[in-house]
């Protein structure tokens, strides 16, 4: 069993972070340059951390598997970022943002972490504006806000439909400023293949140069993983083609605990699958639900065109079932409702596997121009993909895998149970419980990178005595050899199936049995199917090409090999958690009106899994969640 110490500071909730910042150790300015830190990932979390740590004086080495740090998948976030500014004067506050996030997460996140997140949210907006992020403004020149699911206030800051892009470009520019100053050494097209642990502490990584194939060791005093989510376990998701779980999976296999792996977010508004050729799914931002109304025909099997269906024969089911939140019901709830409608035979479109998101009424109310101003790029994207004009015909949408709340376990300092290994952004498990609210991932990534890690890493570095280590250390040698060995093994299979074919097979099992709705029989089936596909992978995968050139099939193969293990852990975690909570819906645990039924008595904990060796069953430890401030309540949006 692992001893999971969350290191939550004492004292009242409101003062924990300030007290903690005062009490933790500092590295004096002149000594900072003596410490080196590796940051893997250049999304919001990694770029903001790299820049901020370099500004403080640490020597930073930053890695990305992409050709430029600016391409990290944070770039694709559309809708916005939350903060408790209360500029619209509609009753928002740090406490309300904290409360909404805990409730939105279905009471499966730590109070102290979430409170800190809400506290630093305002400074994030200030920082981004100072960097030149062009947020939307009103005619008075002040910042504009909109609402997102699961909130009854307007607290979401946005930059048209490209908020993630603008925030990432802000963080990227801060990072590149440090690169220019020589305080960050940037390694692009480098894939981390392993974490290196020396005397129990994280001391470096082994990477593959994706252009030359070279296997390299990098040494540091601490390692930060900010490598994003693992939604691509499902093959089809809104993640980028290159998004992967390998870095955190390798860390897991080196002893880092993996928390709540089954907590996956299925986003309700994505463009539905159109055929077998589909390589990824495209999100239609949740912000569209501010002005779009979701409906299906009342009649089963109604094949009339949408405009031929009169209002009284439409079921605006979110407005009907959740009168107070309506179309802005949170994601998990909205996704399930869409699935119920399709399961009832009331789905629309050729495949009958979608629901409408209709802008007719808001175009009438606000005019087409206003809608274009708010969502122009999304409408355009929709039309490019589907060849249908959403100003004239309602969009068709269906849920898709979008975000993973689970990730490596971290304490209040964002450090994993391996000393020196810190985990930020979507890669950690910390703040969203069993369901993430819209516009909160960007907030968390930047909170972690700009405002938490710069303090907490100093405490670690100042408090540990690290022996001098270089790349000739046996642990580095061993990790390099293992990485080379695995590449040789992958290339030598020379079978008959492509990596994509096997990944699709895994994705189908994940979606059917570990997806939106889960049950015991299905999860047990997944636990036999996934190892079967994994065995086939290692006997029958075909990876052409050589190791010492750019080899994209080899890159994919390494990631899919890891997904084939991670998927199994997700199923195992989902099977053990017999309650429903947030995005984790166990059919065995639902209320009469099909809402998720939590079981606080037995499951108010974080389930953190520990690797026990190849072929061995992993072991789960529990971190009990204590709620001092918030009353656990049934989450209702009715």
């Amino acid at each position: 069993m692992l001893k999971l110490d969350s290191k939550i500071p004492g004292g009242p909730l409101e003062q924990k972070w300030d007290t903690h910042k005062f009490k933790i150790k500092l590295v004096n300015p002149a000594n900072k340059r003596k410490y080196s830190v590796i940051v893997v990932g250049t999304g919001l979390a990694g770029a903001s951390a790299s820049a901020s740590l370099a500004e403080l004086g640490y020597q930073v080495k930053t890695f990305t598997s992409l050709d430029s740090p600016r391409r990290a998948h944070s770039i694709a976030a559309q809708g916005g970022i939350n903060a408790a500014k209360n500029y619209p004067n509609d009753g928002d506050s740090v406490y309300r943002l904290f409360y909404d996030t805990i409730k939105g997460g279905d009471f499966r996140a730590r109070e102290a972490n979430v409170y800190r997140l809400a506290q630093v949210s305002n400074a994030i907006i200030d920082q981004c504006v100072a960097q030149g992020v062009p947020f939307a403004r009103d005619y008075g020149g002040l910042l504009d806000n909109r609402s997102f699911g699961g909130a009854q206030v307007s607290r979401t800051f946005y930059a048209r439909g490209q908020t993630g892009q603008q925030l990432l470009l802000g963080a990227y520019s801060a990072l590149m400023r440090q690169v220019g100053l020589g305080t960050v050494k940037l390694f692009a097209r480098r894939e981390m293949l392993d974490l290196v642990v020396v005397d129990g502490a994280a001391r470096g990584i082994v990477t593959r140069n994706m252009v030359t194939g070279e296997i390299e060791s990098h040494v540091a005093d601490a390692v930060i993983l900010a490598t994003g989510g693992y939604g691509n376990t499902f093959y089809l998701s809104t993640n980028a083609k290159g998004s992967n779980g390998s870095a955190i999976w390798k860390a897991y296999k080196k002893g880092a605990a993996f928390a709540n792996p089954c907590f996956t977010q299925i986003h309700p508004t994505c463009i539905p699958v159109s055929g077998d050729h589909q390589s990824k799914l495209t999100l239609m931002s949740e912000s569209l639900r501010n002005d779009g109304r979701v409906w299906v025909p009342k009649k089963e099997g109604d094949t009339r065109r949408p405009e031929q269906i009169p209002d009284e024969e439409r079921d605006y089911y979110l407005e009907r079932v959740y009168p107070s939140f309506g179309n802005l019901a949170p994601r998990d709830v909205s996704s399930r409702q869409a699935k119920f409608r399709v399961d009832e035979g009331r789905g629309v479109g050729e495949t009958r596997m979608s629901v409408y998101l209709d802008f007719r009424d808001s175009i009438k109310r606000l005019g087409k121009d206003k809608i274009t101003e708010r969502y122009g790029n999304l409408f355009q994207m929709y039309e490019k993909i589907t060849d249908e004009n959403p100003y004239e015909v309602p969009m068709r949408i269906y849920p898709a895998v979008h975000y993973t709340m689970g990730g490596l376990w971290v304490d209040y300092n964002l450090m994993s149970n391996i000393p020196g290994l810190h985990v930020l952004g979507e890669a950690n498990f910390s703040d969203h419980g069993a369901n993430r609210l819209g516009a909160s991932a960007l907030m968390q990534g930047l909170a972690d990178g700009y405002f938490v890690i710069p303090y907490t890493i100093g405490d670690y570095l100042a408090g540990s005595k690290l022996p001098k280590v270089d790349a000739s250390h046996e642990s580095f040698r061993a990790a390099e050899n293992e990485a080379r060995g695995r590449i040789t093994k992958l290339l030598s299979v020379r079978g008959n199936k492509t990596v994509d074919e096997l990944h699709r097979e895994l994705g189908k099992v994940m979606w059917d049995y570990v997806g939106m709705s889960r049950n015991e029989a299905g999860l047990k089936k997944a636990l036999t199917e996934i190892p079967r596909i994994r065995d086939e992978f290692w006997q029958n995968v075909r990876i052409p090409g050589e190791p010492n050139f750019m080899n994209q099939e080899l890159e994919k193969a390494g990631r899919v090999a890891d997904f084939l293990e991670l998927g199994e852990l997700m199923a195992r975690d989902a099977l053990h958690r017999t309650e429903s909570c947030g995005g984790h819906f166990r059919e065995e645990s639902q209320t009469e009106d099909n809402e998720a039924k939590r079981d606080d008595e037995h499951f108010a904990y974080v389930g953190a899994w520990e690797f026990k060796g190849e072929g061995k069953v992993p072991e789960m430890s529990k971190e009990k969640l204590e709620f001092e401030r918030i009353q656990l309540a049934t989450r209702s949006y009715k």
């Binding site: 400074a123 960097q131 930059a159 075909r542 750019m550």
Partner: protein, 256 residues
């Protein structure tokens, strides 16, 4: 309802093993392509075909496949990102092509973008231009309240238009001189339009333009090919703004 059809095509694809090898075109027939596929899904399909036939698949960059990350970088029948205006390769769909058509697929070509393999090129020169000055020099924790300085909606919208650049490099590939003026001017313009960035605008313009020259990008001769190729509709207006800026930066530098 879906208007998807199946089409057959002939692809002439650039193959080059690495920077040192001399490249060549390779011809591949592709059959039964759904017109609902994106261009990159068509390439995925071809790659699966190549792997099953025992060959080496075509290397190309892509990540988001939503037209926002700027990874994809394919020249299609001579046009960076293909025939559609304001559309990155990953958003181009096969309904844009005719049954029986031959399509020539090449990398983004420019002296400053060496080929890594097949369609994949090295665009790190663009990152170095940003590192030379494409930022506001504000460290974390130094910011005042976000609403302390009102910014007119007009300036903020114009700044956004410039900030929409995805750094793909299509502008460079489209330019006969392989100039990076549109890219560089977009960042200079965005930051100069905002009070937060205006403070160091002269220095920024000087440094970024100097880096652009060091990276062996060509000069701008105002043909406007860059604007036509840009998937995000970045306009030449940014270049006019940068030139003004640059001249004034240069002048003030001399006066001082």
């Amino acid at each position: 309802m879906s208007k998807a059809k199946k089409i057959n095509l002939t692809l002439k694809v650039w193959r080059q093993k690495d920077q040192n090898e001399i490249g060549r075109f390779e011809t591949h027939p592709v059959k039964g392509i759904s017109t609902d596929m994106s261009f990159l899904e068509m390439l995925d399909h071809l790659n699966q075909q190549i792997i099953h036939a025992g060959g080496d698949p075509i290397a190309f960059d892509s990540d988001c496949r939503e037209g926002i990350c700027g990874s994809c970088s394919t020249t299609i029948n001579g046009n960076p990102h293909g025939p559609d205006r304001e559309t990155a390769t990953c958003q181009l769909h096969m309904r844009r092509f005719e049954d029986g058509q031959t399509i020539v697929v090449e990398p983004f070509r420019a002296r400053a973008f060496p080929v890594i393999r097949d369609i994949s090129v090295d665009r790190s020169a663009l990152d170095r231009i940003i590192a030379a000055g494409g930022f506001v020099s504000v460290s974390t924790g130094n910011a005042q309240d976000a609403n302390a300085i009102p910014i007119s909606k007009e300036s903020s919208d114009l700044a956004f238009d410039a900030a929409a650049c995805i750094g793909c490099g299509a502008c460079v590939a489209a330019c006969k001189n392989a100039s990076a003026m549109l890219f560089t001017s977009a960042k200079i313009s965005q930051l100069a339009l905002l009070p937060q960035g205006a403070v160091e605008k002269d220095r920024r313009a000087r440094n970024m333009v100097a880096q652009m020259d060091r990276e062996k990008f060509g000069n701008c001769t105002n043909t406007g090919a860059c604007e036509a190729a840009c998937p995000k509709g970045i306009t030449l207006e940014n270049m006019a703004r940068m030139n003004r800026q640059f001249t004034s930066a240069w002048l003030t530098a001399r006066v001082r």
